[in-house]
């Protein structure tokens, strides 16, 4: 496999894991715009153990997950006291605090970053993303998944049904933290280097976009969102020169044309994002859509069972 494709698969896997990390709190009705902060905790946790103590990835990854889960659990209590846009700002502020702390820490390399000696091939993040995906699909099929989605729809009634809504939200936030830690550790070991500039606000925004535009109602949503937004810039990399050629032809330009500027990819990405918000505000994949596809199977089965002999 070429370096290009293994690089893409690595990034895609890490993005899928991150999307699920943010999906869990969002599925309970809590928007989290601090993804980069949680990922940075995991990445630096793993990088530090690997560079300073020479630990293997089988030790650094569980540690990074546990550390990020612990941090998430502890800040969940003050954070989840806020609601709506205030929670979004609070999680964003948390990511900024993490970034600032790491930037000013000599132990963690400050602005110089940390190099990570233990390296993993792309198969490891791919396997990680696969396991996380199966785990999330399982979780959403349990009663825990049911009460998570119920708390998202109406927390007052969910409470009345006997559910500890706060407990469910803290748990979802903590499990999400562990997944963000996993994504961070895989990032550190895949790219052999971490620097805090890589964990900036636009990462937090992108990861939240994967979830919101992919769809928050089912486990399919974040998967679709991460796939779409990771692969689209790559697809545009190929499609853009051709697109410019056609446009030139249509407008009657003659002669050779220069390759278009890279930044046009992000213009198109931005336009698509706006269009999706306008026309599919509940996300690419909605509950009704999944139910329809499932129903088609189910209806055929029922028809067979109910048919008179």
């Amino acid at each position: 496999m070429s370096g290009y494709w293994s690089g893409i698969l690595t990034i895609l896997s890490i993005n899928i894991i991150m999307a699920y990390a943010i999906f869990l709190p969002v599925a309970t009705g809590q928007l989290n715009l601090g993804g980069a902060g949680f990922q940075a905790v995991g990445a630096y946790g793993a990088a530090f153990l690997s560079s300073k103590y020479g630990l293997s990835v089988w030790e650094t990854i569980p540690f990074a997950m546990a550390l990020t889960a612990l941090v998430s659990f502890l800040i969940a209590f003050p954070l989840l006291r806020t609601k709506g846009v205030y929670l979004v700002l609070a999680t964003f502020a948390f990511a900024e605090v993490v970034g600032g702390a790491i930037l000013n820490s000599t132990m963690l390399g400050g602005p110089m970053g940390l190099s990570v000696p233990a390296f993993v091939e792309y198969q490891v993040p791919v396997l990680g993303a696969l396991l996380v995906t199966i785990f999330i699909f399982y979780l959403m099929a349990t009663r825990f998944g049911l009460v998570m989605r119920a708390a998202h729809d109406d927390d007052v009634v969910t409470d009345l049904m006997g559910v500890n809504v706060r407990g469910i939200r803290v748990a979802a936030f903590t499990i999400g933290g562990a997944l963000a830690g996993l994504a961070g550790a895989l990032y550190a070991h895949s790219f052999s280097f971490v620097e805090i500039q890589g964990f900036n606000a636009s990462l937090s925004i992108y990861v939240l976009l994967y979830v919101l535009l992919g769809g928050t109602q089912t486990a399919w949503g974040p998967l679709a969102g991460a796939l779409f937004f990771t692969m689209l810039p790559e697809a545009l990399r190929v499609a853009l020169p051709a697109l410019k050629g056609w446009m030139g032809l249509a407008m009657g330009f003659q002669g050779a044309r220069t390759a278009p500027d890279e930044s046009w990819r992000f213009v198109i990405l931005g336009i698509l994002t706006v269009l999706m918000m306008m026309f599919r505000s509940e996300g690419l994949i909605t509950r009704v859509m999944v139910e329809k596809l499932r129903f088609r199977h189910h209806a055929v089965r029922l028809a067979r069972v109910d048919a008179p002999a």
Binding site: F137, Y138, A141, T142, R143, F144, L146, V147, R149, A150, H152, D153, D154, V156, V157, T158, D159, L160, M161, G162, V163, N164, V165, Q217, R287, V288, E291, R294, F295, H298
Partner: protein, 268 residues
């Protein structure tokens, strides 16, 4: 001789919001197995009584007793475990969940514990929780919509589903807040039969309702509130002749009242 302990009993309940006294010194009993209505003009405090019993508010004064035990300090989420379930004036089903999932949420009070939380409801086949929910929907004649997302269903069906959801917790006392609001005559008839069947299984009903037809057909006992005070507490048959109730609904007697009661005619 002592009378049997009422299932629910309110003792001198008062509730104020700021300077506004919403409930003033209200007491009444709901005996086990009763079908009781709580009526009164808009703003009389009926829904506030429900919110006090289900634990959204705490009373400023007085005790709320469930089977002889004071419950006003118990958190709202533990009250379903005491046997209190309710429906809402404006339907509050989970719009993004399917019908079956809404019913399974109602089972939550019986499915406590982390182990039950982490068992799958549908992942390689069905759990007994899902089977139970679907069997119940079938019993109630609602089985045609198991996987349908609630937001897509007609209003009357959603009303019934909300009642079924409250019922799967196997409550002793079911609080229904305007179950017939927004239903047409046929749907109200169907709902009345539905509620009678529920009552026949031993569930005590306390109903807030404006539709007096439903109250007369369903309930044997009525409590009337007006401006947060109890003005009537007795059999349904007599409520329409009670002077205080007539005044609350129709205004003072000397203002020309169209009520065709013996007392209402004396001015003629």
């Amino acid at each position: 001789m002592t009378a049997p302990t009422p299932l629910l009993s309110l003792h001198n309940i008062s509730k104020r919001f700021g300077g506004l006294a919403v409930i003033s010194d209200v007491s009444f009993d709901v005996s086990a197995g009763a079908r009781m209505a709580l009526i009164g003009p808009n703003g009389a405090g009926k829904t506030t009584i429900f919110n006090l019993v289900s634990g959204f508010y705490q009373p400023d004064e007085g005790d709320i007793m469930m089977e002889g035990r004071a419950i006003q300090t118990i958190a709202s989420r533990h009250r379903i475990g005491l046997g209190i379930a309710r429906s809402f004036q404006n339907i509050r089903l989970m719009p993004h969940l399917s019908v079956t999932e809404n019913i399974m949420l109602g089972q939550q009070a019986r499915a406590g514990g982390v182990v039950e939380l982490l068992k799958p409801l549908s992942f390689f086949g069905h759990s007994h929780w899902r089977d139970e929910a679907q069997a119940l929907l079938k019993d109630m004649g609602l089985h045609t919509y198991p996987g349908e997302v609630v937001a897509n269903l007609p209003y009357g069906i959603r009303k019934k589903i909300e009642v079924v959801r409250a019922l799967v917790a196997r409550p002793k006392l079911l609080l229904l807040d305007e179950p017939a609001a927004g239903l047409n005559a046929a749907e109200t008839d169907s709902l009345t039969g539905f509620l009678k069947r529920i009552s026949d299984t031993g569930v005590t009903l306390l109903v807030v309702e404006h539709d007096m037809g439903l109250v007369r057909r369903l309930c044997d006992h009525v409590v009337v509130l007006n401006f947060g005070r109890k003005i009537y507490d007795g059999p349904t048959a007599n409520v329409q002749n009670d002077p205080l109730v007539l005044e609350a609904y129709l205004g003072p007697r000397d203002a020309a009242s169209p009520a065709k009661t013996a007392e209402g005619c004396h001015a003629a």
